[in-house]
């Protein structure tokens, strides 16, 4: 690697992004200015660098020997850094000899009004990228062995399916369930929408398959107590004392029903007011005959939707953490209508009123359930968030938007609050595992559109309603998707990790040990036999805390060295001719 600096020939490519950049930044001027740099061999601009043609441009320049380092000034590296690293690989160049400069999200899109300044800034930033890559080594990815076991947290249907799917791929599974039984919320239902299958039959299928599978170890009544390690080699100790060594983790911690807040729709004050899960439980316990409440026959029921969902600050009482549930709980509309149809089937003369904000029967087979409810004579009333229904002595009053805000008084022997869902209680677990959660408190996926079952943290995956409200079909799909990712990670004998870890120049190290107290990761940084600092690359997370205190600059972060950062600052600070 020494001597690389003087032979370095950098190729600079400035992307138009089809006008996204070039409408604001004078990309030709940027390319021309960078072309003056003594170590820049090629400096071009191109309409779409990310396109096959753009990548080909880079590959051909590398292959022809004109360049051996690449800087692309384009969109955010989140989008295309990997694209170009792979392009370098295809051209047989070390993929880390690549620097991606962001002149779209952080220049052209935010400085629309000042083309000159934007162009100067783009030039400075691209020059900083060149200075960085000139000081970059050929890094190599790190390979770590992988324990061919997956730890699944949560034994509801998503956890069960993920366990079966993983076991079917030749992996060992440890399935940890907090409660004393597997099956989660599937126990609550009689039948599931949209197909109307028996919940207990579905559950029976899952449970017998799991218990028949020798690769799956189920630990009931247990929680993860301590957590350590990294992808390929996570180490957990359970509350039962069992130690688990797993290569990957699937979170399947599920959901909880929201409870109406104190006095909401007179819940807790009026025993006619119950929640949908309570109604489902009651119907399951007494599967035939007319519905009763307090020993008396029920002749009319009013359902009120969006209790605990789509809440609005100032209108609804906040949850325990002071925030309202402003999200839609996704499953409640269809669940309520499915239950309504079941009620109608056993008691056709039952008067049912459905008070809703929007009916969200979005899924395959859901709309038919809604239509069936209409055919069954259910009357629908639409209320707005500003004018919520009011519970009276033996009725419900709703300002019905559908009949031009008429106030309608509906008899109701029973009021069913269609409650929403919130994530399982995982605060301690996520703190221990350092997993991100969103403002809705659900576990946060790596990308809400493209990577719904992955987590930013390596080796963690999400299955089912721990990520967002979802029904059984969707949970099953999510579980299968999570198992697919796990299979990809653990199917190889080694897991490949980024090389951005601390490293030591033994010649410079004075053995002062100032770095040791800076490192938060046990075993990652230590003094070796020759009294020099040494780094365990598989354990180092690459935070760089040790780098700051190393006076002789023996410690550095691969890919993010202090030298590189200083050279970038110098390039940014220097003036660009207008």
């Amino acid at each position: 690697m020494s001597g690389a600096m003087d032979e370095a020939k950098v190729g600079v490519y400035v992307c138009h992004c089809g006008g996204n950049i070039s409408d604001v930044v004078d990309v030709k001027a940027v390319a021309a200015e960078l072309g003056k740099h003594p170590q820049v061999a090629i400096s071009k601009e191109f309409a779409f660098m990310c396109s096959d043609a753009g990548q080909k441009l880079v590959i051909e320049d590398i292959k022809s020997g004109k360049i051996n380092r690449v800087v692309v000034a384009a969109c955010s590296p989140a989008l295309h850094e990997l694209t170009f690293r792979k392009a370098l690989q295809r051209a047989d160049l070390n993929p880390y000899l690549y620097e991606h400069v962001n002149i779209r999200e952080q220049v052209s899109w935010v400085h629309k009004g000042d083309h000159d300044a934007a162009t100067r800034k783009a030039t400075s930033l691209t020059r900083a990228g060149v200075e960085k890559i000139l000081r970059q080594d050929r890094l190599e990815s790190i390979h770590v062995g992988a324990a061919k076991r997956v730890l699944i947290v949560g034994g509801g249907p998503a956890g069960l399916k993920a366990a079966l799917d993983s076991a079917a791929r030749g992996l060992k599974v440890t399935l940890v369930e907090k409660s004393g039984r597997l099956g989660g919320h599937l126990h609550e239902f009689d039948t599931v929408y949209p197909g109307g299958q028996s919940a207990s039959e579905l559950l029976g299928k899952l449970l017998s398959a799991v218990s028949a599978n020798p690769a799956i170890t189920v630990v009931l009544g247990a929680e993860v107590k301590t957590w350590d390690g990294f992808v390929g080699n996570f180490k957990a100790v359970l509350s039962t004392g069992d130690a688990v060594n797993a290569g990957a983790v699937i979170m399947a911690t599920g959901y909880r029903h929201t409870a109406p807040s104190a006095g909401e729709y007179r819940f807790g004050k009026d025993d006619r007011v119950i929640t949908l899960p309570a109604l489902i439980e009651q119907m399951k316990a007494a599967p035939r005959g007319p519905l009763t409440r307090g020993g008396r026959a029920v002749r009319s029921v009013a359902f009120i939707h969006c209790v605990g969902s789509r809440q609005i600050e100032g209108v609804h009482a906040p949850q325990e953490d002071g925030k309202v549930n402003d999200y839609c709980s996704r499953v409640c509309c269809t669940a309520a209508l499915h239950t309504i149809n079941a009620l109608k089937e056993r008691q056709s003369d039952l008067a049912i009123y459905d008070l809703y904000r929007d009916i969200r029967t979005y899924g395959r087979g859901h709309e038919a359930i809604y239509e069936q409810a209409s055919k069954n004579g259910v009357l629908f009333f639409r209320f707005t968030e500003e004018a919520q229904p009011e519970i009276r002595e033996s009725s419900v009053v709703v300002k019905d938007v559908l009949t031009w805000n008429q106030e309608v008084e509906l008899p109701a022997d029973l009021v069913v609050l269609v409650t929403g869902v919130k994530p399982g209680e995982v605060a301690e677990l996520t703190a221990m595992m350092k997993l991100p959660t969103g403002s809705d408190r659900f576990l946060q996926e790596a990308h809400p559109k493209l990577r719904p079952v992955e987590v930013a943290n390596n080796g963690f995956f999400l299955a089912g309603a721990c990520q967002a409200p979802m029904d059984l079909v969707e949970s099953a799909a999510a579980a299968g998707a999570a198992a697919s990712k796990v299979a990809a990670v653990l199917s190889k004998d080694f897991i490949t990790l980024d090389p951005y870890v601390a490293r030591v120049d033994a010649e410079k190290c004075t053995g002062c040990e100032a770095c040791l107290p800076e490192c938060a990761y046990t075993g990652a940084l230590f003094m070796n036999g020759s009294k020099k600092a040494e780094v365990n690359a598989a354990l180092c997370k690459g935070c760089g805390a040790c780098v700051a205190v190393c006076e002789p600059r023996a410690l550095d972060l691969a890919g993010w060295s202090l030298d590189q950062m200083e050279a970038m600052v110098d390039a940014m600070a220097s003036e660009v001719a207008p």
Binding site: L79, R360, W404, L450, P469
Partner: protein
């Protein structure tokens, strides 16, 4: 040709499933009937609720697939038949359509496109723009090969003269291919309900009534006009209406179901419109707003806060009045009972989703359900299985779905395919089988 799996359809679901399988060490043949991979997603403007630019987040996936050593991608290729062999494998009969260029020579330089004198309507732009009779389908297409449209070509030879690598071949014919696989995955996607299906909405004849996919192109950063203009006269619209459920929840169209994505794409388009045309009035006529997914409700509330009008109303009829403007007869379902007329200068119909491809046309036991989409008898626990053992389905092949739900299903389908392969073609330790 032999592989572990045939994936039919290279939209986002097919791409994701192919990638997942390949990452597990499985060989995939990915077949796509269009000249580029990327499906519907690559043609969208931005995606909800993140407002990520669709082509920015699709291109990396497309490139990963195109460059994956275990994925063999066949574009511009139709599936003529799939037969199940006695040993449980499948034999697929594919037909590669002629592009009229030699792909191994072409460098994608576009010289042919520059010199071609014939303009034709651009399918990628949903007829809003024009392209040359020989052209690369769109900017980010993968592969970057042009396609010559023989129906429009005048055989003038200009392209052949201009081609620096001499790769134009006017005599090229389709080529049949046969692939043997252990499993088949259908990711055949959706199409919109036809814009001319409803006579009361002009039967497709009103120039300023456009489809939602046309709306996507109008709003795409490199769309046909580069900005939002209406088709009839190029005027910048200042009053735009979205008509929801224009192709869904409507038994008369044979689409009684909810198409699941229209509420959100309309809200997204409305937000983008209000960004590019800050003074325009934007109205969404709807029955129910179904913002059910993660982050969707907040997105809807943001749209309301931005001043987009949400009117709960049915649109009974649309007719053209002077200057190409449109009069909508609306029946409000809130506020007032009187039918009224509203005028807008551009109307976007939120058309519904129907299957792109009917697997029933092949001689195999893959059945569709009453909604026309591939039947999934294993649902809820096994949503990828079809009525044929060894054939799986995901994405909008099994019903309307948005991108994130399609991606989840694609991952699940990869798992189900992987489970079958684990039995039929176990992995050899330390490498691909």
């Amino acid at each position: 040709m032999k592989a572990h799996t045939l994936v039919i359809g290279a939209g986002i679901a097919g791409l994701q499933a192919a990638l997942d399988l390949a990452e597990q060490g499985r060989q995939v043949v990915l077949v796509e009937k269009n000249p580029s991979i990327g499906g519907r997603m690559i043609s969208l403007s931005k995606v909800y609720p993140t407002l990520d630019c669709a082509s920015c987040i699709t291109t990396p996936r497309m490139a990963s697939v195109a460059h994956h050593p275990l994925i063999h991608t066949l574009t511009y290729t139709e599936v003529l038949g799939v037969a199940k062999n006695e040993d449980g494998t499948f034999r697929a009969h594919l037909r590669k359509k002629p592009r009229y260029i030699e792909e191994d020579k072409c460098i994608g330089c576009k010289r042919c496109e520059e010199v071609c004198p014939v303009y034709i309507r651009d399918d990628f732009e949903h007829q809003l723009g024009a392209k040359k009779a020989i052209s690369i389908p769109f900017t980010n297409a993968i592969p970057q090969f042009p396609v010559l449209e023989p129906q429009s070509c005048t055989w003038c030879g200009a392209c052949a003269n201009a081609c620096p690598v001499d790769c134009i071949d006017f005599t090229q014919e389709s080529r049949d291919l046969f692939v043997e696989v252990d499993a088949v995955l259908l990711a055949t996607g959706f199409q919109l309900t036809p814009i001319d299906a409803k006579a009361q909405y002009g039967g497709g004849k009103l120039r300023n009534v456009i489809s939602s996919l046309q709306g996507e192109r109008l709003l795409a950063p490199h769309g046909p006009y580069g900005r939002v203009l209406r088709p009839s006269d190029g005027k910048v619209p200042d009053s735009i209406a979205f008509v929801q459920c224009a192709g869904s929840r409507d038994a008369s169209l044979g689409v009684p179901y909810c198409s699941r994505v229209c509420c959100m794409y309309a809200i997204k388009q409305a937000m983008l419109l209000s960004g590019s045309l800050p003074t325009a009035d934007i109205t969404i006529y709807y029955m129910d707003i179904r913002a059910f997914g993660k982050g969707y409700e907040a997105f809807y509330q943001n749209a309301k806060a931005m001043g987009i009008n949400f009117v709960k109303a049915k649109v009974g009829r649309i007719r053209e009045i002077e200057d190409g403007n449109l009069a909508l007869r609306i029946e409000r379902q809130e506020g007032t009972a009187q039918p009224e007329e509203a005028q807008h200068d551009l109307v976007i119909l939120s058309l519904g989703l129907t299957p792109q491809w009917n697997p029933g046309q092949l001689a195999w036991e893959v059945k569709t359900a009453s909604d026309g989409f591939v039947a999934t008898p294993g649902a809820p626990l096994d949503p990828a299985a079809t009525t044929q053992d060894g054939v799986f389905a995901c994405g909008t092949a099994t019903g309307p779905k948005d991108i994130v739900d399609s991606i989840m299903e694609a991952g699940n389908a990869a798992t189900e395919v992987g489970k079958r392969l684990e039995i039929r073609a176990p992995m050899v330790p330390g490498g691909a089988s």
